[in-house]
């Protein structure tokens, strides 16, 4: 299993060195994001249930897509964010669920605040522990959400604080997102927050406000 393999490798590192580098933390965050995206997809029913298999990550059962291309998409998207997350450029990573007219219906937003100046003796296991709670919370968040229209599609959108200007070759995987924010301020439903020294992460869902919906209906 790919992901647990990663975990083990990292644990091995950890035992040798209690001081995680920013890179290690970012590794962990990316790993988490990848799994969390899969999990959100399964929770929102964007694919049939058979599409997913149960796996274990951070010692918590999660849903993991079977389809290699989907995995590849998620994996490459998150991997390409790695350096930007590390630099603190990425503010939010969102899973945007669009209806068949490509109008955004729901955004699962991971808001990241990476603090590079964390004290070095921060135990990485604590971060893992905190992230695990997200895996538990995501599957039970469904009652808070609105039912999705049929034939939805989705995409991964990263919100950066600035255009990454480091010319890294990874930049060309990303294109400017074409659907901007909603006209009216969206409704926010928090799902989970975590706060640690190097990383503050919030997961919340944005829904269009009622006014927005009516506009869409009119159209």
């Amino acid at each position: 299993m790919k992901c647990s393999g990663l975990v083990e490798k990292r644990r091995g590192d950890m035992e040798q060195n209690q001081k995680p580098s920013l890179g290690e933390i970012t590794d962990l965050v990316c790993e988490f994001l990848e799994v969390a995206i899969h999990l959100v997809l399964s929770v929102r029913g964007l694919y049939p249930a058979e599409f997913f298999e149960r796996r274990r990550h951070f010692n918590v059962p999660v849903q993991w897509a079977r389809h290699p291309e989907l995995r590849e998409y998620v994996h490459s998207a998150v991997t390409n964010l790695h350096s930007w997350i590390q630099q603190g450029i990425v503010e939010k990573v969102a899973i945007v669920i669009l209806d068949n007219a490509r109008a955004p219906q729901e955004r699962f937003i991971f808001k990241l605040q990476v603090d590079k100046l964390y004290s070095k003796d921060f135990p990485i296991s604590e971060l893992e522990y905190a992230l695990r709670a997200f895996y538990l919370k995501i599957p039970v968040s469904e009652p808070l959400l609105r039912p999705l229209p049929p034939d939805c599609t989705w995409e991964i959108v990263a919100y950066s604080k600035q255009l990454p200007g480091d010319g890294s070759s990874k930049g060309h995987f990303w294109v400017p997102a074409d659907n901007g924010p909603w006209e009216n301020p969206p409704h926010i439903t928090p799902i989970k927050s975590m706060k640690s020294e190097p990383l503050v992460m919030q997961l919340y869902v944005e829904h269009p406000s009622v006014a927005e919906i009516s506009v869409f209906r009119d159209v």
């Binding site: 630099q87 603190g88 808001k111 605040q113 990476v114 603090d115 590079k116 100046l117 808070l144 604080k161 600035q162 200007g165 480091d166 924010p181 301020p185 969206p186 409704h187 926010i188 439903t189 928090p190 799902i191 989970k192 927050s193 706060k195 503050v200 919030q202 919340y204 944005e206 829904h207 406000s209």
Partner: protein, 1206 residues
């Protein structure tokens, strides 16, 4: 003998036999060849004979001069001489080895004062010979031990000694002290060789081994003698007499060597290439030191003097030589000082010369003085000395200058052939500096902020002589000196530039009203229809020269492009007229690279397509060009190639942005440094904004960060290779205040999350400018702050009430007006203020009052003679009584006046109004307005917003209200106003009266205010909340003020409370309720526990419950645990518990506020719990109603949305 002051010192010269050996013998490198073949040369009795008189070499040389062939070349002469000196040295060396030492050296050593030391260090009889093997020294200047002693030592210990510097032969340079310029420019001085103090040799000998030279580098004089007087004090008294004397002295020296003709000096210069590297003063210093050290070594003296003379001829730079020859120590000082004075960087150095300790150019400590680390005034100094800054800011100064000039309206001249003159000063930056230094005329001169260094300063401008040598702007000094060794570097003369530019533009404006300033030295003039443009240009140029002693060139043509191109052809000091019929040909020959807008890259592209001249370019169609180079560039090329340019001469344009950026010398150790630097930068920007009478809304912070892996940049303290980051933020209002800028800048800086050490440059730019007219900016000084601050100081009890009311009065009237009118003109506004005040009071009191805004710092009651009778007449009786009372009843004694209506409406009678007593108007107004405030809620119970408006104005309003409460109270107790005046009001500091936080301000109302007031209000907010305020305003401009639907719900409560409790008690409560969550257990636990009054039970329940459960984590879980207690009746009613609601509200709000950005989940939980319990308890629903709007505001600021509370 070896003592340099001794006349009997000898430098053995070459024997005639050895001089016959080949001139072209291969040079000996780094090894000592024991020339056993040559016998020791018999020393020539030197005595005081002039150089070379008896020297065979000189004889030969003289002979050679006579017949032009043979050894006519001085270079060959020198090389032969050097070779001979070496041979002599070797001869001495070998004789020393073999024991037949005449060697005066050893004996001399013993007789010398250092004899003891030397005898210690030189164990006799041993074969010391190889200690300095491979070491070849060159002694520069005065040393202890002396030059010849060192020579002896080197001889003894197997080293070599060079009389003349040569990069290839010398391995170490020995000197005791070095002038600043040489230390700074040690590379060009030493050519990379180590410079050591003579102690190195002595110590090495003492220890019997070759020590490392690093710790023996000479110190800078400035550090060794920090209190040394600077030359600047007597520099400039460069009297001609001294020069003459000195000249004659030098002349004497030259003449005394009859064989040598002055013309030789040129060649001397070219030979002594090392010397040329030195700055002029350094060379003189050298010379004099050498002179001093080697009085009897005539040949050397001669050389050096000639060198000196040559230098003198070239530069006439200083008169120190003579002084120095009489007193060598002074000389050194003088020279060093001269260095300092010349050195443009001395400014900064002087700052830290006492603290800095660096004897090594590689020592970082010496860098520090330039960087942000040490220099507190770095930013100011940086801009003071930055040329780019001068150019950049020149335009604004120019605008100020030009605005004063009447600009006649240009008649339409469409039918005439346009005539454009392009005037450009010839190498402006140099010319201005040189204009007052005739001795520099015709010499290559360049302007650069730093003469010397290791040459990484960039030349900013060079004159035509220097350009002929290949020197051009942007070159490093070291490269430029390589191109043109005689290049003189002069520092900027910003005052001169300013002065010349001003004169230049005066002249231009005199001749023409259509002047487009391109920069301080370059402008377009549209002289269409003003006669022969050539004549105009001619007269302008001659006037410029007369006025400034600087030359200008002019290009004249029918459009801007051609005029500019023509100037290129006209330069230097000429003019060129491209007549309409010549345009074709003029353009055809032009290389494409000359076109403006065609840079290096584009030129290369064009060349690669074999398009080198405009003629060739014309063969290409517009479409092809546009396809190849893009729409705009293609179009531009097509037009320019045909000499078409439709740009007009546009007189002056408004600025779009103001900012400051520093990319040089920026080094931070930690965040604190960066923050301080941001502070100074913000002040700089703020000053610039204020100078321009501008305020900006959008702030962009640019930061350069060292690229990963990039080392220390080549350019001294430069930024090197960097990644650029920028962030910007827009405020809801425009500002030019440094502290606001700083807050924004800090926030932006923090958001970049950079490590301070990596930062190499910081810039702050302000855009979206609001230009204020001068009058408006004057008014600004009378802004709210001065209103707030002024009246509360030094108030006599009697005047107290008046003043306080005055204060609130003016604010109120201002706000009323500004809510209603968006009038820009300050004059108008004042008028309207006055009027509307009148209207208000009329409406409310039904009485007629003349009122003008009182002066801002009302003095004591004005003398009665100054009171405007007519105003007094119009006052209602009770008010009149009050005033009368203030004047101790004197007014009433005056002739009774008919109660004539008088309404002040005329702006022009302002003066009169000013005579009006501030006391009268303010009291009147106070009385007029009191009911306004108190009645309003009654009159418009539905329009809560109105009252809230008043609460929204933090300080002033509270104060106003405070005032009115008192006033009301008083007027209830006493019929007449007597007591109002006599009752001294408690003077409360304005800041104490501020509302607790930004959330208490109705944003909708704030939004309606003019920016000026908004600013001031925000500034007036207490410091602890000010930051948040800004965030509120800045984070999402469009969000902030569209909360109207949210905020009014908070209004009734605030209004209620304030009405019931009166503001003073509220402010007391609010002070108490500050920072409730501070401490452990939180402050509120105690406050709630000790609360007395209605509803205290609720607070006590909450407090004690929290104490029981505090350890259990979040507030949400605490709220949950509160469940069982909620059934207590205390929460059901809300009678008399507004204060308690307020307390709980603050508690929850202050808990939530910091969590919004980091723990949305907890915020959500708390809100949902509050919502859940509020459905059952009135108390909580009140809390919730008041809580939601501000919290939703926080959420919206951070997340751009509304929390969905289900």
């Amino acid at each position: 003998m070896a003592d340099f002051t001794s006349k009997s010192d000898q430098l053995p010269l070459v024997s005639p036999s050895s001089s016959s050996s080949s001139l072209h013998s291969p040079l000996l490198h780094n090894s000592i060849v024991v020339a056993s073949a040559s016998s020791p040369a018999p020393p020539i009795p030197a005595a005081a004979a002039p150089w070379g008189l008896h020297s065979p070499a000189a004889n030969r040389f003289a002979a050679a001069k006579n017949d032009d062939d043979g050894m006519g070349d001085f270079g060959r002469y020198m090389s032969e001489k050097k070779r001979k000196l070496r041979e002599q040295f070797q001869a001495d060396f070998s004789s020393h080895l073999f024991g037949h030492v005449k060697a005066p050296v050893a004996a001399e050593c013993l007789s010398n004062e250092e004899a003891g030391e030397h005898s210690l260090i030189a164990p006799k009889g041993s074969f010391e010979g190889h200690l300095f093997k491979g070491v070849s020294i060159f002694v520069n200047g005065f040393t202890i031990p002396s030059h010849s002693e060192l020579r002896g030592l080197m001889m003894k210990y197997g080293g070599r000694f060079e009389n003349y510097f040569s990069r290839s032969r010398v391995t170490h340079i020995v000197c005791s002290t070095l002038p600043d310029s040489k230390i700074k420019d040690s590379r060009s001085f030493s050519r990379g060789l180590p410079i050591v103090k003579p102690d190195w040799i002595v110590d090495s000998i003492a220890q019997g081994k070759l020590l490392h030279w690093a710790s023996y580098q000479p110190e800078r004089i400035a550090y060794a003698h920090p209190h040394q007087q600077k030359l600047s004090s007597f520099f400039g008294s460069d009297s001609g007499g001294e020069i003459d004397k000195e000249k004659s002295l030098l002349q004497l020296a030259v003449q005394s060597s009859s064989e040598v003709e002055p013309g030789l000096s040129d060649k001397l210069v070219s030979v002594l290439d090392v010397e040329k590297k030195h700055s002029c003063a350094g060379a003189i210093n050298d010379t004099l030191q050498t002179t001093h050290a080697q009085v009897n070594e005539e040949n050397l003296v001669k050389e050096e003097n000639k060198d000196n003379y040559a230098k003198e001829e070239e530069s006439k730079s200083t008169a120190t030589a003579e002084e120095a020859s009489s007193d060598s120590s002074t000389n050194e000082d003088v020279c060093h000082n001269w260095e300092n004075a010349v050195d443009n960087e001395s400014l900064l150095r002087e700052d830290d010369s006492s603290s800095g300790k660096g004897n090594d150019h590689q020592n970082m400590a010496s860098y520090a003085g330039h960087s942000t680390l040490v220099d507190k005034n770095f930013v100011q100094n940086f801009f003071k000395r930055s040329r780019l800054h001068f150019i950049g800011t020149w335009r604004s100064r120019y605008h100020g200058h030009v605005e004063d000039k009447p600009r006649p309206i240009n008649e339409s001249l469409s039918n005439q052939t346009p005539a454009i003159i392009h005037i450009d000063m010839d190498c402006f930056f140099v010319a201005v500096v040189v204009r007052n230094r005739p001795q520099m005329a015709g010499k290559p001169v360049a302007v650069c902020h730093s003469d010397s260094a290791r040459g990484t300063a960039e030349i900013s401008s060079a004159n035509y002589t220097a350009r002929a040598h290949g020197v051009h702007a942007g070159m490093f000094v070291r490269d430029a000196k390589a191109c043109c060794p005689s290049l003189e570097i002069v520092p900027y003369d910003f005052e001169g530039y300013e002065e010349v530019a001003e004169k230049l533009y005066d002249i231009l404006h005199k001749h023409c009203n259509q002047v487009q300033a391109l920069s301080c030295d370059e402008a377009y003039l549209d002289v269409t229809g003003q006669g022969n443009p050539e004549l105009i240009a001619e007269s302008i140029r001659s006037e410029i020269f007369d006025a400034t002693k600087c030359t200008a060139s002019a290009g004249i043509a029918t459009n801007v492009l051609l005029a500019r191109l023509a100037t290129k052809r006209a330069k230097p000091n000429g003019q060129y007229y491209v007549k309409a019929d010549e345009e074709e040909q003029f353009m055809a020959d032009l290389p494409v690279g000359e076109l403006p807008g065609v840079g290096w890259a584009l030129k290369e592209k064009l060349h690669s397509r074999n398009l080198c001249t405009c003629h060739q370019l014309r063969t290409v169609s517009k479409e092809v060009l546009q396809k190849e180079f893009g729409l705009k560039t293609g179009d531009m090329l097509w037009c320019y190639a045909r000499g078409i340019d439709n740009r007009k001469v546009i007189p002056a344009q408004e600025r779009k942005s103001i900012g400051a950026e520093v990319n040089w010398g920026v080094r931070f150790r930690h965040y604190e440094d960066a923050r301080k630097f941001l502070g100074t930068l913000c002040e700089e920007v703020s000053t610039r904004l204020q100078k321009e009478y501008a305020r900006g809304r959008t702030f962009t912070l640019k930061v350069k960060r060292r690229k990963n892996g990039a080392g220390e940049p080549a350019k001294f303290m430069g930024c090197g290779s960097c990644d650029n980051f920028s962030r910007s933020s827009t405020l809801a209002y425009a500002t030019n205040k440094a502290d606001v800028l700083l807050r924004v800048a800090e926030k932006l800086y923090a958001s970049l999350q950079l490590e301070a050490q990596e930062v190499r440059g910081v810039g702050l730019q302000v855009t979206k400018l609001d230009m204020m007219t001068v009058s408006r900016s004057n008014r600004e000084q009378k802004g709210l702050e001065s209103w707030l601050a002024s009246p509360l100081k030094n108030i006599l009890p009697v005047q107290g009430p008046c003043k306080l009311v005055t204060n609130s009065n003016s604010i109120l009237s201002a706000t009323i007006v500004e809510k209603e009118n968006e009038v820009q003109s300050p004059r108008n506004r004042k008028k309207i203020q006055a009027d509307s005040v009148l209207q208000e009071s009329k409406i409310l009191r039904g009485s007629k009052i003349s009122s003008e805004l009182p002066s801002f710092r009302p003095p004591a009651l004005p003398p009665m003679s100054q009171l405007d009778r007519s105003v007094l007449e119009s006052l209602p009786p009770d008010i009149f009584n009050e005033i009368d009372n203030a004047y101790n009843g004197l007014l009433a004694n005056e002739k009774p006046i008919a109660n004539k209506a008088y309404i002040e409406t005329d702006v022009h009678s302002k003066n009169k109004v000013h005579l009006d007593t501030s006391a009268s108007s303010s009291i009147a107004f106070m009385r007029a307005v009191t009911p306004l405030l108190l009645r309003k809620p009654i009159q418009h119970p539905t329009n809560a917003n109105n009252l809230h408006t008043e609460h929204a104005y933090p300080n002033e309003y509270l104060q106003t209200e405070n005032q009115f409460c008192k006033e009301k109270h008083i007027s209830h107790t006493s019929d007449a106003g007597d007591k109002v005046v006599s009752d001294p009001l408690e003077v409360v500091g304005p800041r104490d009266l501020m509302p607790l936080s930004f959330s208490q301000i109705d944003k909708a109302v704030l939004k309606e205010l003019p920016t000026q007031l908004q600013c001031d209000l925000l500034h007036a907010l207490p410091a602890h909340s000010a930051h948040t305020n800004l965030q509120h305003l800045s984070s999402s401009e469009h969000n902030v003020f569209h909360e109207n639907d949210v905020f009014p719900s908070a209004t009734p409560f605030v209004a209620n409370t304030s009405n019931k409790l009166g503001m003073p008690s509220k402010s007391a409560a609010s002070q108490k309720l500050d920072e409730l969550w501070n401490g452990l257990p939180p402050k509120w636990v105690r406050i709630f526990h000790e609360w007395s009054g209605p509803g205290s039970r609720i607070l006590r329940i909450i407090s004690s419950q929290y104490q029981c459960r505090a350890a259990e984590g979040s507030f949400a879980s605490f709220l949950l645990s509160l469940g069982p207690f909620l059934s207590d009746g205390a929460f059901d009613g809300s009678d008399g518990s507004d204060e308690v609601v307020y307390c709980v509200l603050e508690l929850v709000k202050q808990y939530i506020q910091p969590l919004v950005s980091v723990d949305l989940e907890e915020v959500w939980k708390v809100l949902r719990l509050v919502k859940r319990i509020s459905s059952e308890h009135r108390f909580w629903s009140e809390v919730q109603n008041l809580l939601l709007p501000p919290v939703q505001g926080y959420i919206s600021d951070s997340y751009g949305g509304k929390l969905n509370i289900v």
